[in-house]
């Protein structure tokens, strides 16, 4: 049943959703140190400042190390859990999966605080590594959600055919299962990468003195002089996430097409 008014409402809503992001490139190229209208003129000075900033470069490096490691680890753990969840029945399954998925419904501050207390308690020095530990924890549930869909769409008779033709469990997994769920694996990697790259509170608590991209941005937001550069950085980040998401979406659709399902749409 259609309500025609909704169409205009939807467009207004999209405008509301995108309004802040549209401002990013506007002020990133604006030749003025104060973020306000009227605009002054065109400049690429803020991008030059951004490229020359050494702390920012360290932060980006740290964030990339963290995001790549966390996405690989989370996806690996996700493959194990999603495979177990979709293929086998065992007592206590709901409880175990529930524990693994818990970070989805737990405020991140709680995860950050509890991990911090334990890590300091056993004498671990805070570093990039400790941030990875935390990020794997919050990325794994998302990885599992994506991979569950991929494993569920899998036709079991294909694996059974491989067993009948003399393949072992492992070679079947490698030759049949893995290639079929590969699009799911790739979108899980990209999703975890994006989540980790953007995560602030866990990095804020667990990074010690090492800057990550979000903690660096947070520290700079206090200084009005740095804001134009942050706008330039934001523009670059938005561009990068749109590219990443488009790739993720492409693989998700290809995965659906490969297993012959219909597109129900959406990431989460």
């Amino acid at each position: 049943m259609k309500f025609p008014v909704l169409r205009s409402y939807a467009y207004v809503y999209l405008l509301f959703l995108y309004a802040p992001i549209i401002l990013l490139p506007v002020f990133a190229f604006n030749d003025g140190t104060i973020i306000a209208f009227p605009l002054k003129g065109f400049t690429t000075e803020w991008f030059r400042q951004m490229a020359a900033n050494a702390t920012l470069r360290t932060a980006v490096q740290n964030s990339l190390i963290i995001a790549v490691s966390a996405s690989i680890l989370a996806t690996t753990l996700g493959v194990f859990a999603a495979r177990a969840a979709t293929r086998f029945a065992f007592p206590g399954k709901a409880g175990i999966i529930g524990l693994i998925m818990l970070p989805l419904v737990l405020p991140e501050i709680i995860i950050a605080v509890s991990l911090l207390v334990v890590l300091l308690g056993i004498g671990v020095t805070l570093s990039v590594f400790t941030v990875i530990l935390g990020h794997v924890l919050i990325c794994t549930p998302y990885a599992i959600a994506i991979l569950n869909t991929a494993f569920n769409a899998l036709d079991r008779s294909l694996e059974e055919a491989a067993y009948d033709l003399g393949e072992t469990k492992w070679s079947t997994f490698r030759l049949i299962t893995l290639p079929l769920v590969m699009p799911g694996v790739i979108s899980s990697l990209l999703m975890s990468f994006t989540i980790s790259l953007d995560e602030f509170i866990i990095a804020f608590f667990l990074a010690g003195r090492e800057p990550t991209l979000p903690t660096y941005i947070f520290s700079q937001l206090r200084f009005p002089k740095q804001i134009p550069m942050i706008m330039a950085l934001g523009t670059v980040l938005v561009g990068a996430s749109i590219v990443l998401l488009t790739i993720a979406e492409y693989f998700r659709r290809r995965g659906i097409a490969k297993t012959g399902g219909t597109d129900s749409g959406g990431f989460v």
Binding site: F16, G78, V117, G266
Partner: protein
């Protein structure tokens, strides 16, 4: 011999394969999630010594926390802000989810969902900060109004609860749209036709058929927005300017700045408990909608 055989048979069962497969992920969650949560639970019952924690059972932390007017005010504010954010987000999101599910052609649905999820994946910090740019003293709104000659002095729109609610409602929008959309997609369209054939108006069909069937999605949306917003740290800090702190900011101050881990733990545990109770109460009040399947 018999036990050895039983062991071998057990190794070949489905349950064993399941446990073996899930064990890496399960152990990771046990070591880095369950154990830390248990630790702060234990810490909340310990005494605070200078730079250490004295392992001696006490309820003092909870007594201090719950009799502290600052904690009560902040907890109440966090609950109010989260409730307002949740109500705003879900009310704004429902028509969008409805539009995508009922008005948009199937081929365009995933494109719409993609459009809606993109902003959600761009830097959260920068998105929050942009609201400060929009609402600030010499921000977009004020300077535009000034150019148009509508105001004499800039309006003060930051550092208050309304600004926090607005920012969070914007940030959590996709979280609300997606579950509602999924619930609406599941509705058998024949039921709606049946409603109309039996003489109901369009609005009554919506009220008596569509809405009750969409409730599981609405309930999921409420919980998905309510739980993380109550623990949000960034928005009260940036948009509230530190003047209207919420629970996460309080935990951070007690834990790190004052280095009182038992007290910080007691606050964290109390906040978790309240969030859980509120969520369970909400589920209980809506239990009649959750029994409905297909």
């Amino acid at each position: 011999m018999a036990s050895k055989n039983r062991w071998r048979r057990w190794l070949r069962t489905e349950a064993f394969s399941g446990y073996a497969l899930i064990s890496p992920t399960a152990f990771y969650a046990l070591a880095l999630l369950a154990a830390p949560l248990m630790t702060i639970l234990a810490f909340s019952f310990f005494k605070d010594g200078y730079l250490t924690v004295i392992r001696e059972f006490t309820l003092q932390n909870y007594r201090d926390t719950w009799t502290d007017p600052v904690f009560r005010a902040i907890l109440l504010r966090s609950l109010t802000v989260s409730a307002m954010v949740t109500a705003a987000t879900v009310l704004i999101a429902f028509p969008i989810a409805y539009y995508i599910s009922f008005n948009v052609s199937p081929a365009m649905k995933s494109r719409w969902l993609f459009l809606i999820t993109i902003p959600f994946w761009t830097s959260y910090l920068i998105r929050v900060f942009l609201w400060k740019v929009i609402l600030g003293f010499n921000g977009v709104v004020n300077s535009s109004l000034d150019i148009l000659g509508l105001i004499e002095a800039p309006l003060n729109m930051l550092n208050n609860v309304q600004a926090i609610v607005m920012t969070l409602a914007h940030a959590y929008a996709p979280f609300a749209i997606l579950p509602i959309f999924v619930a609406l997609e599941k509705i058998d369209r024949a039921l709606l036709e049946a409603g109309q054939d039996l003489g109901e108006s369009r609005l009554m069909t919506f009220w008596r058929v569509t809405l009750p069937l969409a409730m599981p999605g609405v309930i999921a949306a409420v919980l998905i927005v309510f739980i993380p917003t109550i623990g949000d740290y960034v928005t009260p800090q940036l948009i509230g300017g530190g003047k209207v702190p919420m629970v996460a900011n309080l935990i951070q101050v007690r834990m790190l700045d004052l280095d009182n881990k038992p007290l910080g733990s007691a606050i964290a545990v109390s906040a978790m408990l309240i969030v859980t109770l509120v969520s369970l109460a909400f589920l209980f009040l809506n239990r009649r909608f959750l029994g409905v399947r297909k």
